[in-house]
Amino acid sequence: MTETEVRERVRSLLQKIHPDDPGATAVDFRGVQFDHGLAFASYPEGLGGLGLSPKMQSIVNDELQQNAKTFYENLAINPIGIGMGAPVLLTYGKDEGKREMLRRIFTGEDIWCQLFSEPSAGSDVAGLSSRAVRNGDDWVVNGQKVWTTLAHVSKWGMLVTRTDPDVPKHDGLSYFLLDMESPGVECRPLYQITGEAEFNEVFLNDVRIPHSRMLGEEGQGWRVAITTLMNERSALGGGASRKGGGPVSLLLKLLQESKVSRSKVEQALLEDRITRLYIRAEMLRLTTLRARATQRSGNPGPEGSVGKVAQSELYQQVWETCIDVLGEDGLIYELGYELRRPGDITSLRSGNDDDETRRLQAKYQLLRSQANTIEGGTSEIMRNILGERVLGLPGEPRVDKNIAWKDVPRG
């Protein structure tokens, strides 16, 4: 199908149902979009796609944005379901019900979450200690998961858990789809530095999962999970924002709006720091563009991998510099630390419209951005990856290889 034909198909979708129509809900519209094969353009027909090249999806989105005011961001509808759940389901899902599940992912009727991390397994995800024991046609799961975004509103959880403790740690894991409404699943908010709970702790007490909900084979959970994690890292690696966009543009505006009294030296220091950050952000943006170009050329280089570590550290510096621009105003934290689910505050993340929002956002992000260099792979782990996978430097001696998981020291 050519680009023109794809655009044509989008327009025929819009004739059937239009997102700006007040009667058409997101679920309504995206359901029909799925049925037209315009949800995941590269998926097979009947599963929300048309078997096209992956980049055709951006044509679809472009055409949608050109012809409607309302545009549903996947990230807002069902970030984990669409970003990670759908690809895993596509590759490993059983045929029965697969179409319906993909459709409900895309419409947002079923929110998905990812049950990977555990208290004892941070960077070392394969060190998971939650256990599933076979019992007839079911598996009975016990353990604790952490850092699970959206678990409290999710229908399905992608669960990786240990089914065999007697083999080396990567080999004893299996991958399940867990119905989050099952008895024994308990979600507790995990409050962060800001007082918000973006994440949950999920406790699993004798939770039963039918064997048929295992994705991939028994013991292949790590391989299935890797696919998902790769998707997560590239998602967090950061899209290319437009020139002069993102946190740095907020910083520039804060500086221009600043009425703080400062000496010439302080002003000069701030200006140079901000210029450095501006240039670095611009270089990062260009590097992402280069990464896309080399990916298109089928000859991907190291540009993509540098994104996560560079961006997370850059943004931390940007927010800190914002606070320095604010001067003594930084002593005040208007948002308060009440423990709560993210709501209004989260909306600050994209807001950049007026000086008041900018001030609050900078303060919020000073705190929130501390997690940037931890979540989705710590900077330490990312540098190992750059060193080992990109530069080909040798790994460290491993003390946890080729021994049964139960014999590996952990804590």
Partner: protein, 371 residues
């Protein structure tokens, strides 16, 4: 310079640490920081009566312990270590110094014993919006009203401004800077808590509307207040040192016990070297803080204080951030105390002027930049 702590100094440190480990443990800190006034009168009373800390630097004739800046630094370092929630910096350091150095003798004899006993807490309201740390920019003027004065206007970033019983205000009378005292329940006084970045130290805005005030200094107090702020900064640097050291300790302890890939994360150079770097910074900061305290009465004390404030501020912020990073996901949860240190560190960095402001002072004094 002599850097040696005496046996008495070590005793003081041990006593204070023991008290604080009981009375200012994490549970107590979390409880206090959730309260608007942010401290426990009962603990303050015990801290004053049992340890004499409220009057630590108040002369014995006024009921204090009569200690100097070295003892103050020791105490602040210990308080910083546990994030004590109490009006120590405001009452026992800043306001006490302002009274001792600026107020008339009769006032000293009246107020200092009340402060030293812990019965009352005091604060000094001097910051005004715009250029808050610059005494030269104070614009609030006290209007004469017979023997008394009336104040109108606003002071902000007042340490423990909502809870203080004795409220001192720096304001102008003609071209002179003077000190005035305002009653807690004076007419036209409103005290509004500011939502603080650092919930363990409370700030307020004080509004005055023809508020009656008593002048308590007969001479210009500009120099006295500058010296009071210098003492406060020196004390704060020691507090920052204590916090930074605690962050390093927490990070090292965690790095020893947390296992990933079958071994302690502290055995990886990525973590080990972050800790080693932090150790270097903390030891340099220790020199900065101690030097400022040991030389507080010498020529050049202002520069030693400026160096300490700028160096300890940056070290504490770095230590607090590294501690979070080394703790990984756990480090940015609410339930782990790491974030409390970050908030304290950032707020301490800002209050009384940024590191670069203090470096400029140093630059002028050693001839790096034109005076």
């Amino acid at each position: 310079m002599n850097f040696e702590f005496s046996e008495e100094h070590e005793d003081l440190r041990r006593t204070v640490r023991q008290f604080l480990e009981n009375e200012s443990n994490e549970t107590a800190v979390r409880e206090m920081m959730a309260e608007e006034n942010g401290f426990s009168r009962e603990v303050w009373a015990r801290l004053s009566e049992e340890l004499g800390l409220a009057g630590l630097i108040i002369e014995e004739k006024h009921g204090g312990a009569g200690f100097g800046m070295v003892e103050l630094a020791i105490v602040m370092e210990e308080m910083g270590r546990v994030l004590l929630c109490a009006p120590f910096l405001s009452s026992a350091v800043l306001a006490t110094s302002a009274i001792e150095l600026g107020a008339d003798a009769s006032i000293q004899a009246d107020l200092l014993p009340q402060i030293a006993s812990g019965e009352k807490t005091a604060t000094l309201a001097f910051s005004e919006a715009g250029d808050p740390w610059n005494l030269g920019k104070i614009e609030m003027t006290a209007a004469a009203n017979g023997d008394a004065f009336k104040l109108s206007g606003q002071k902000t970033f007042v340490l423990d401004g909502r809870s203080a019983n004795i409220i001192l205000v720096a304001a102008k009378v003609g071209s002179e800077l003077t000190l005035l005292q305002v009653d807690e329940d004076a007419a036209g006084l409103t005290r509004e808590s500011l939502p603080p970045l650092d919930p363990t130290r409370k700030l307020a805005t004080l509004r005055f509307d023809h508020t009656p005030a008593k002048r308590i200094a007969s001479v210009d107090v500009r120099g006295a207040l500058e010296q009071s702020i210098q003492r406060t900064i020196t004390a704060l640097a020691a507090e920052q040192l204590g916090g930074a050291q605690r962050c390093l300790d927490m990070a090292v302890d965690y790095a020893k016990s947390r296992l990933q890939f079958g071994r302690p994360i502290g055995s990886y150079q990525a973590i080990k070297h972050q800790c080693a770097d932090l150790l270097v910074e903390v030891e340099l900061a220790r020199s900065a803080a101690y030097a400022a305290a040991f030389s507080a009465d010498d020529k050049g004390a202002d520069i030693a204080a400026a160096m300490a404030k700028s160096f300890c501020s940056e070290t504490y912020a770095k230590a607090a951030k590294r501690n979070i990073q080394i703790h990984g996901g756990m480090g940015f949860t609410w339930e782990h105390p790491a974030h409390l240190y970050l908030k304290r560190a950032k707020a301490s960095e800002i209050i009384f002027g940024s590191p670069s402001l203090h470096r400029e002072k140093v630059a002028r004094s050693v001839g790096i930049s034109a005076a």
